[in-house]
Structure formats: C-alpha cells, structure tokens
C-alpha cells in the first residue's frame, strides 16, 4: 500500500510541472481560442480526412489535464492522455484495462476510483471489481480479457442504432489486442450492419513487453478494418459514424512511460519520447505561447489538483474494506434473496440483489 502511494506521489510531483487549467476564469487577459496547424492523418479508404488546422479551446485543455492526475496501481497509462481528448460525454465508451483515465472523464470522482483501486467499500464497484472493472453511465469498463471488449463495443453500437438515437460507441483496444480474431469478427459484423462504432486502436508500440514489430506482421493498425475506413482524429470519426455511413477505425500513435504493470521495469527510450512528444507538455506550451493561459494560472491549479489527489488518496487508505457480509451480494439483478455456500457447507452467505 505504501509503495503504491509512493508511486502516486512521485508521479504527482512530476505532474506539478504540468498543471491543470481546471479553474476556468474567463479573464480578459487571455484569448479563448487559438488556431494551430496539426499533422495530417494517414488515411485508409477515405477520400478526405480531418482538417489540418484545429481550434483549441480552454475546455478541451481542461479535460485533458484532468485525466493526467489519474494513476493506476496496476496498469499505468501516463503518456497516453491525449487519447481521451475529443470524446463527447453523451456517447458510449468501452475499453480494456487500464481504464482509470477514461473512468474519470465519464463522471466518476477521484475518490471513488482510488477507493476502488484499494478495494474499499467507497469504491465505485464497492470493492468488488478493482482496477479492471469500473463502470459509469455510458461507460462499460475496464474489461479484463484483452480483446473481448471489441465485440461488446460493436454490440453497444448496435443498441445505439437500434434505439435510433444519434449516439456512437467508441471501442478502444491496444496494439496487443489488435491481433485478436474476435476483433475482426466485430469489424465484419459492424461493417455489414453499418453500426455506429468507432474502433480506436491505442498504439503505444508495446504489448506487455513485446514491441509491435515482433507481434504484428502489419503495424498499420488503422488499415486492418479492410473495408472499414481508417485514419490515424475523434471528432471527424464521430461525425462520420453519426451520418449513418457505418463504422470507422482510428489508430492513435502514443507511448506508455511506465511498464505494462507494476512489476514491469520499462525501457530506456522513455526519456527520449517524454522530452519530444509528451502530450501534456506540448499542450501546455501551446496554451502558454498562444496566450490561452499564463504560467502562474497553471501553477495555481496544479496546487489545487494536488490537494484533491491527496485528499482522495487519504480517503482511499482510510475507508474501510467492504464488510464480509457483502461477499455474496449482487450476484443476480432483481432476484429475491437467497443463500450462497461459503468455503464449507456450514458457512452460509446471504445474497441480495
């Protein structure tokens, strides 16, 4: 427990250099919008991609910084924060572990997330799920089985289309999962039924420790949908799906700073990537240089954010574990109470829905 908290504080102190602009003070000193040139996307079966300029607003920066604060105990995701940006909260989202960043953007509080990670009753799944199983409205986890979430996401997209609402489902998976057969099954059915599903491959270049070159015959993940158009950007993709054209495939090129899990030592190239293409630092530089925020303002919010994290971490360690009576609770939904066998025939647990 202490080791995990130490890991969080180490990370947080580095985060202090990258503050959050969560406090949106509409000050007359700062501009609200700025236009930037961005890199052109690689395209597959698409005639035109998203525009090469984009307007960055303070709200977008706000979301992005918030996610940076979240750290997993088991599977860290730092360096990949940009993947969260650009997602509409009303849409549906499903991913695999690590999902803590996404869980936060889907409306859960830091306290609930950290308490779930420490297995406390104040956790979002009441201590039953842990790191890999966090759920919220329109957010379906956090799934433990690599690749299984992709057909689930296609199913959620089917529900979106079935209900006739203008919603899409963002289905995320990594470069490691991209080699699972069931993903191609999901692509096929999604294309056949024209499901509003955005398949997003977060390519952080490594599975656990296996680099993409050693795991995949073709590393152009955005092309793997074959008949599904692909590109290496979210607003454009969402508009494509909502217009009824069917699914689309996106690949996000990113990088993971820590190892796959806490027991993985990581690799040397981290520092190089961190200095050149860290998404938070790049965004911060752009914001400051184009007068969207001042360095002092960003520093102020960093202090506030750190306080919030400390408070949540304190809660996550002080909150009691779930009571033993709850071991059998919530196995079935809407069922009358029944008895569950414990480790031997004399231990009887109660189960309520």
């Amino acid at each position: 427990m202490r080791k995990m908290l130490a890991a969080i504080s180490r990370v947080l102190s580095s985060v202090a250099q990258k503050p959050s602009s969560r406090v949106l003070v509409a000050s007359c000193h700062f501009a609200n919008d700025a236009t930037f040139e961005i890199k052109k996307c690689d395209l597959h079966w698409l005639e035109e991609g998203p525009p090469v300029t984009t307007v960055l607003t303070r709200r977008m920066a706000d979301q992005l910084y918030k996610q940076k604060i979240i750290r997993g105990f088991c599977h860290l995701w730092d360096g990949q924060e940009a993947c969260c940006a650009g997602i509409n909260p009303a849409d549906h989202l499903i991913t695999v572990y690590p999902a803590h960043g996404f869980t936060f953007t889907r409306g859960l509080s830091v306290r609930e997330i950290l308490a779930e990670l420490t297995g406390r009753r104040g956790g979002c799944a009441k201590g039953k799920g842990g790191s890999m199983h966090m759920y919220a409205k329109n957010f379906y986890g956090g799934n433990g089985i690599v690749g299984a979430q992709v057909p689930l996401g296609a199913g959620i997209a089917l529900a979106c289309k079935y209900n006739g609402k203008d919603e899409v489902c963002l289905t995320l998976y990594g470069d490691g999962a991209a080699n699972q057969g069931q993903i191609f099954e999901a692509y096929n059915t999604a294309a056949l039924c024209k499901l509003p599903c955005i398949f997003i491959c977060e390519n952080n270049r490594y599975g656990m420790g296996t680099s993409v070159e050693r795991a995949a015959a073709s590393t152009d993940y955005y092309k793997r949908g074959d008949f599904i158009p692909g590109l290496r950007a979210t607003k454009f993709a969402a508009a494509y799906c909502r217009s009824g054209k069917g699914p689309i495939l996106m690949e996000l090129q990113t990088y993971r700073y820590h190892g796959h899990s806490m027991s993985d030592p990581g690799v040397k190239e981290i520092q190089e990537v961190r200095s050149k293409s860290d998404p938070i630092r790049l965004l911060k530089d752009r914001m400051v240089n184009s007068n969207l925020a001042s360095v002092e303002e960003l520093k102020e919010t960093a202090v506030e954010v750190r306080k919030e994290i400390e408070d949540a971490a304190q809660f996550a360690t002080a909150d009691p574990e779930p009571p033993l009576e709850e071991l059998g609770y919530r196995i079935y939904c809407n069922d009358p109470p029944f008895e569950v066998r414990g480790a031997n025939q004399w231990i009887k647990l109660k189960s309520i829905s």
Partner: protein
C-alpha cells in the same frame, strides 16, 4: 413428506373471462405442441411484448433457424429484430452481451453447444460476472440458447460462475424461455435437438401470454416411494416389478433446487442421478452435505455416459450414452436387488 410440485398461477384475465361468459362454454382445451413450437411461441410472445427483445444467431432469418425454431419470426418482425450473423460465435456473442449492457434484451442463438464453446469467454467473463464485478451497477439481460448442451454435460462449466442455466425438455420450454428472456440476468437455455419434434400437452394455463415457469424450481414428474431418480425417464419395466421410481426433473441446473431432491430422498432413501441431470456430482455432494444424507440406505449410484468423446459408429455411440438398461441396472444396484 409432501412433495413439492410446480404451482401454476391462473392468470387473472382468464378468470374474469370465464366470469363474463353467458353461454355454454368449455374450458380451453389442452393443446398438443412440439418442443420446437413451444420455444418458438415463447420467443414470439416476448418479441411482441417488448420491442427491446431481439434475436440474433446463424441462419435464424431466411433459413428459419438451423432447427427451424425461429420459423416465421423474421417475416413477422423484420430485419431489425431478427438478425442473421456471420459464422463468428465469439464475435456475435460479444455483440449480444454489449447490446444487453446498453439496454436491449437480446436472445443469442448458438447452432450447437460445440460451436458455443468458442464464445465461452464472452458468456462467462463478459456476461455472467459483470453484475457482481461492477458492484451491482451493470446488468446484462441476455439469453443464450443452444441445443445439445445438456447431453454434453456442459452445464458444469457454465454454472461454475453464477450463471443461470435451465434445461427444459417438454412443452415447459415455453414457460422457461419466457422466464429466461424476462430475467435481468444472463441465462443459458440448453435445449435438446432430439426433443424438438416431440409433442407434449400444453395445459390451458400455459397458453396464456403471461405464463412463466420460475427458474430454480424442480418438478416431480412422477411420484414414487422406492428410489429417487434425478431425470425423467419412465421406468415401465421397473413398475412391473413393483419398483416405484420418483422421477425428479431438475429443469434448472443452476440455481439448483436441491430441496426438492432432498425431500424426495428423505422419502425414498435411495438416489440415482442420471445423465440428463447435467450435474450429477454436485447433486451427490449436496445430498451428502445436507439433511438427506442420514436418510440414505445405500450410496447414490450415478448413471453417466462413458468417459469418452462422442464416437461416430452406431454401436459405439449407443454404448457411450446411458441406455434404459443402464438406469435399471443402477436402480437395482442401489436397492440391492
């Protein structure tokens, strides 16, 4: 000791309907329906009741279903509600589960249990465990239907993970499929291909659109005093010898109604769990742990298939599954005659 029977509630509308009649009437006659028709009718009524219910599976649309169980449904409900899938069990099982998570009520048909094994991950890890792992936040109201699961003993794997499993065999299948569809939890319905074409009486109560058979209740098909067999095969030859078997049909493999079996064993003092029970070892273990153990006059004798994969040649196949002679042998063994 009183034997627990399945209670069927007469729907209110039938009662008031009877009261309203003025002229000569006869009670609605019991119909003869095949198991196939019973399941089909159950699904039809649920599709009609709730537009969030839909069916997906291989060949369920234009082919009318591999075993013709979904005949007529596509013509009635169209492309949106009855969906043909490619041959991608893992994929479409996951799609069914995802749709259920997002608020629909899918029925996912697997052509056979053997094919469904490809999808076991989605059934267990994505469907069965989710409500518990999410701390009660995310329910998954999906039904998985497949023929030939019971005969392959697949129930044991399924029911390890708190997954509800039913194995109806008669026209009761209608009440069960409706209960399964209305259940907010994932339910696996193991059907029997050999029984699809067999007709059974569908009692008048069961003809109502709201007739449900509760999941988790066993049924005494035939009362007896000498031995409890957990399965449902009439033992004519034994009757002639004066041996009366109490035939207990579990119907639901999980949650198992062990109380009914216990009550029966406490009456008959002998137990023979048979093949179709799907969970013979569990039954024996639970009887041993419970009050009925002290009432047993002899160890339980299980009747199982041979411990081999299913062979092809007729003579081999016949000898790899329990025959009536095997059940009779087991009963005589436990009765020591």
């Amino acid at each position: 000791m009183a034997v627990v029977a399945v209670l069927v509630q007469r729907p209110l509308e039938q009662v008031s309907g009877l009261l309203r009649r003025r002229f000569l009437w006869t009670a609605p006659a019991a119909l003869q329906v095949t198991v196939r028709k019973a399941i089909s009718q159950g699904m039809d009524e649920e599709l009609e009741r709730d537009e969030k219910v839909f069916l997906l599976g291989e060949e369920v649309v234009q082919y009318d279903g591999a075993y013709k169980v979904s005949r007529g449904l596509w013509k009635k409900y169209g492309d949106k509600r009855i969906i043909d899938t490619p041959i991608s069990e893992m994929g479409f099982a996951g799609i069914a589960v995802g749709a259920a998570m997002a608020g629909l009520w899918p029925i996912c048909e697997f052509m056979t249990f053997s094919f469904s094994m490809q999808a076991i991950d989605q059934v267990i890890n994505s469907a069965a465990k989710t409500y518990y792992m999410s701390g009660g936040l995310q329910s998954v109201p999906v039904v998985f239907r497949e023929p030939n699961g019971a005969s392959a003993g697949v129930a044991a794997q399924h029911s390890q993970f708190c997954l509800k499993v039913v194995s109806p065999w008669s026209s009761d299948a209608k009440g069960f499929i409706k209960s399964a569809i209305r259940d907010t939890n994932p339910v696996v319905v193991l059907e029997n291909e050999l029984m699809y074409g067999v007709p059974f009486e569908l009692p008048s109560e069961a003809q109502s659109k709201d007739f449900l058979i509760p999941i988790g209740k066993a049924k005494i098909e035939r009362q007896g005093t000498h031995v409890t067999i957990v399965a449902f095969k009439t033992c004519g030859p034994l009757l002639r010898k004066g041996i009366e078997c109490e035939e207990t049909n579990l119907q639901t493999i999980r949650p198992m109604d062990i109380e009914t079996v216990e009550a029966s064993v406490m009456k008959t003092n002998h137990l023979v769990p048979w093949k179709e029970a799907g969970h013979r070892a569990e039954i024996c273990a639970r009887i041993m742990e419970g009050p009925a153990f002290n009432f047993l006059d002899a160890p339980a004798v299980r009747v199982t298939g041979a411990d081999v994969p299913m062979p092809y040649a007729k003579i081999l196949e016949d000898n790899s599954v329990p025959q009536v002679k095997d059940i009779i042998f087991a009963i005589k063994k436990t009765l020591n005659i």
